[in-house]
């Protein structure tokens, strides 16, 4: 029992988080202007939140969302203007709901001080209507425009359109049962367009005290209809009115279109169904699919060999066809599973609208926040990991990037600053860009800051390129903020951003120009589980370089080798497009025996942010997709395999052999620290 309860609880927390998010997004939209659609959406979310919290027994949350609904209803009917004060109040409501949700998650209690917020709501809504179920007392009919059209059309086809009010005996028990039977009987006579209340078949007896109402389109007579309703039993009264068409004056009944918001909304819930799955199960599935893809590769290889050996054998043809089909199915499954794990970045982008709104209000800056490419899809695991770095970068953009209005006007810029958040696909990567049109990074102040903190020497600073200077902000212990403000966070530096991005096999770069702005470019793989690598062989070992960090592969002839490979201070370097890049012989770095063949040389340029390294190995094997097996349990200081720099894991190749997956950022760091020693 407890386990099931916990399961429901988990579902509740997750669902409510989604609903709260949607409410918040809706309010952000409303801030831009009144939209009936959006209010309906927000209302629907608040309503389902109310429902689920009632079921879970969180009375405070349920009551509070009910209050919020009342406010929304007033806004919808324009009884309450949608001004800044009201928007702020709506945000306050969301914050309170979040607070309750957090309390519920932590301690299963939804008690939060909401009196002030409720008072504010009451000041707009008025005191009454704190109790529910008064909503069905209204005698008015309301239908949607569509329904009105249907009714009108039916009249034109000379059908009877009846608007029926049915009263049930007051002392009848299980009134919903009576209502259900009556409506069911009516369905046999024609089309039941609408029933009030919508939950007539499940409603409490108290809700059906005033009976129920039906719109029926039928070719049958009033008498027949009456009989059918009466058959349900314990019916007190039946009033049948005819609808004569919407233009007709003969309507003795007042049909209002779309008057009662709530009822309409509840009719229109989405029909698509979803299930919630533990992400760990998907991870497991993903792992198996990875294995399958690799085994398929192995199968194809063997089949190819057999084909050469037994050419013309009829079984071989079948084998090849089957292998090909299995291969196809395998890649389809891989796509499908990856697709399940994939989310659009919209989910996280939307969070930032609210954040920027609050931040800019607090810092007295005017900022327009523009997002692009919300439909770009990314693995859920990566999506979760990227939120924190993005929060940090966006906070920085607001806090340090965009200037105050006065500063901007002085510089001849538009008063309103702009922050752009963009996502797009590029080959096997997703690129996320954050750019602002603020003051840009001040290279000199970065240099002096780094000096002051003892992160670099005077010599370093003097020989440093601008790009290298900019990259200093990624060093641990560097932070340009003079005072740690509430906005730009609690001492978490850019180095954490960089580490987080690199953990996902991603890359981060900065472009900046004084008084023009700054752009951060984050390049991420599509998925964490399967990565695209370049395989190279050195001695008996295979090494896999993630393609995300490979810039170029070069094959040099003996002559070219002499021309482009030089020795500087006893170390080999490669001259590449006017740059001098250190050469790392994989065999030397990893202490592996290799054969030295001077007639051909393979070079792989890897790295990023103008920091490159050139690997040299015996043989280039080719590009391949691999499933990385983490060696985290074994690798590291004091662990079994020790601290081996530049290896993040291993992978099993098609022929069953291993390749070591290289961690290039880590290796670059190691080289750098070796240089300093």
């Amino acid at each position: 029992m407890v386990a099931r309860e916990n399961e429901f609880f988990g579902l509740f927390v997750e669902e409510s988080t989604e609903q709260i998010e949607k409410i918040e997004q809706g309010i952000l939209k409303l801030e831009e202007g009144y939209s009936e659609e959006t209010i309906k959406e927000v209302f629907r979310m608040a309503h389902s939140l109310k429902g689920s919290s009632t079921i879970m027994g969180f009375a405070h949350l349920s009551e509070f969302t009910h209050n919020m609904e009342s406010l929304l209803e007033k806004i919808k009917t324009r009884a309450v203007p949608l001004n800044e004060e009201v928007i702020d109040l709506l945000f306050e409501c969301v914050d309170k709901i979040k607070e309750m949700r957090d309390n519920i998650t932590k301690s299963r209690s939804d008690e939060v001080d909401i009196t002030k917020t409720c008072e504010k709501i009451t000041s707009f809504v008025g005191k009454k209507k704190t109790k529910r179920c008064s909503k069905n007392t209204s005698d008015e009919f309301s239908v949607t425009e569509y329904e009105l059209l249907v009714m009108d059309d039916a009249v034109r086809r000379e059908q009877n359109v009846f608007i029926i009010k049915v009263g049930i005996e007051e002392d009848a028990s299980m009134k919903s049962m009576k209502a259900f039977l009556a409506v069911n009987n009516l369905k046999n006579l024609g089309q039941v367009l609408r029933v009030w209340p919508h939950n007539y078949d499940t409603a409490d007896d108290s809700e059906l005290n005033n009976g129920f109402k039906v719109v029926l389109i039928t070719s049958q007579s009033k008498e027949k209809v009456e009989k059918n309703i009466d058959a349900a039993g314990e019916i007190k009264s039946i009033i049948i009115d005819s609808f004569k068409g919407k233009e007709s004056e003969g309507n003795n009944i007042d049909v209002k279109v779309n008057e009662k918001l709530e009822d309409n909304l509840l009719f229109r819930t989405e029909k698509r169904s979803y299930i919630r799955v533990d992400i760990a199960k998907l991870d497991k599935l993903m792992g198996f699919v990875g294995e399958l893809v690799i085994d398929n590769g192995r199968l194809s290889q063997v089949a190819g060999k057999l084909k050469a050996r037994f050419k013309g054998d009829p079984d071989i043809k079948e084998l090849l066809e089957t292998v090909e089909h299995v291969d196809y199915i395998g890649s389809e499954i891989q796509d499908a599973v990856m697709n399940v794990r994939v989310y659009t970045v919209e989910n996280i982008f939307n969070k930032f609208h609210r954040m920027i709104r609050d931040l800019s209000k607090r810092s007295n800056k005017e900022i327009s926040f523009i997002t692009e490419g919300e439909n770009t899809e990314l693995d859920r695991g990566i999506l979760e990991e990227i939120v924190d770095p993005l929060v940090h970068l966006i906070r920085n953009a607001v806090d340090h990037g965009i200037e105050t209005v006065e500063e901007r006007l002085e510089k001849g810029k538009a008063a309103q600053g702009t922050i752009n958040l963009k996502a797009k696909h590029q080959e096997n990567n997703v690129i996320i860009e954050i750019s602002d049109d603020g003051k840009g990074l001040d290279i000199n102040s970065i240099k002096s800051k780094a000096l002051e903190k003892g992160l670099v020497t005077i010599d370093d600073v003097e020989t440093m390129s601008d790009q290298e200077a900019v990259d200093l902000i990624f060093l641990p212990g560097f932070s340009t903020a003079k005072i740690i403000t509430d906005i730009s966070g609690r001492g978490v530096g850019m180095d954490v951003v960089k580490t987080n991005v690199e953990k996902m096999n991603g890359v981060i770069e900065i472009e900046t120009e004084k008084n023009k702005g700054t752009r951060f470019i984050i390049k991420l793989p599509l998925t964490l589980a399967i990565i695209q690598v370049l395989l190279v062989k050195e001695g008996n070992l295979n090494f896999a370089l993630p393609l995300s960090s490979v810039v170029e592969t070069i094959r040099l002839s003996e002559l070219e080798t002499k021309e482009y490979i030089k020795k500087v201070k006893g170390k080999k370097v490669y001259i590449w497009e006017d740059q001098i890049i250190p050469i790392i012989r994989l065999g030397d770095y990893y202490e592996v025996k290799y054969s030295n063949d001077n007639s051909k040389t393979f070079l792989i340029i890897a790295g990023f942010s103008q920091k490159y390294v050139c690997f040299m190995a015996e043989r280039l094997v080719g590009e391949q997709q691999i499933v990385i097996k983490s060696l985290g349990e074994y690798l590291g200081k004091g662990k079994l395999l020790g601290e081996v720099k530049g290896i993040s894991g291993a992978t099993i190749l098609g022929d069953g052999s291993f390749a070591y997956v290289m961690d290039i950022p880590e290796l670059l760091k190691d080289l750098k620290s070796a240089e300093h020693k």
Binding site: V592, K645, F658
Partner: protein
């Protein structure tokens, strides 16, 4: 029945002509050496033989002699790899020879290892039965406590 419950089951193997044991609950399987392709692991400590592909899982292989600072010995047809699993870590150990599975009563086991100076921290207990003395190794310590080398 009561006695059976208290029996300690140990896989007994030899290293440098001495008998050692590992508790059965830590052991997954025992493999012949020649059936397994061990790939060297770059820059790893010297007691690491390499890694193997055990049905899709990457498993590091430790030379138990080297790990316990014993003289090296050439592999022969008796050499075996004992695959152990502790705290999600699967590790294989190369030993000279696997002798048998043995069972010991509680009174046959002493957990005081004070008298042993060499490799003392890697020893969990000592089992004595008749003239046999079997040193039961602490695989967890052997895997995790690799700082002193």
């Amino acid at each position: 029945m009561r006695i059976l419950e208290n029996l300690r089951q140990v896989i007994v193997f030899s290293l440098d002509n001495e008998d050692y044991g590992i508790d059965v609950e830590n052991i997954c399987e025992v493999n012949r050496l020649k059936e397994i392709n061990i790939v060297e692991f770059p820059k790893a400590p010297d007691f690491i033989e390499g890694i193997i592909n055990l049905r899709g899982e990457v498993v590091p292989i430790v030379d138990m002699r080297k790990r316990l600072k014993m003289p090296a010995k050439e592999r022969d047809r008796h050499s075996r790899i004992i695959i152990t699993k502790i705290e999600k870590k699967t590790v294989g150990f190369v030993v000279d020879k696997v002798i048998k599975a043995a069972e010991f009563l509680p009174q046959e086991i002493s957990t005081s290892t004070d008298e042993i100076t060499q490799n003392g921290k890697y020893i969990k207990a000592i089992a004595k039965k008749d003239s046999e003395i079997i040193v039961i190794l602490d695989v967890k310590e052997i895997i995790n406590n690799t700082e002193d080398r």
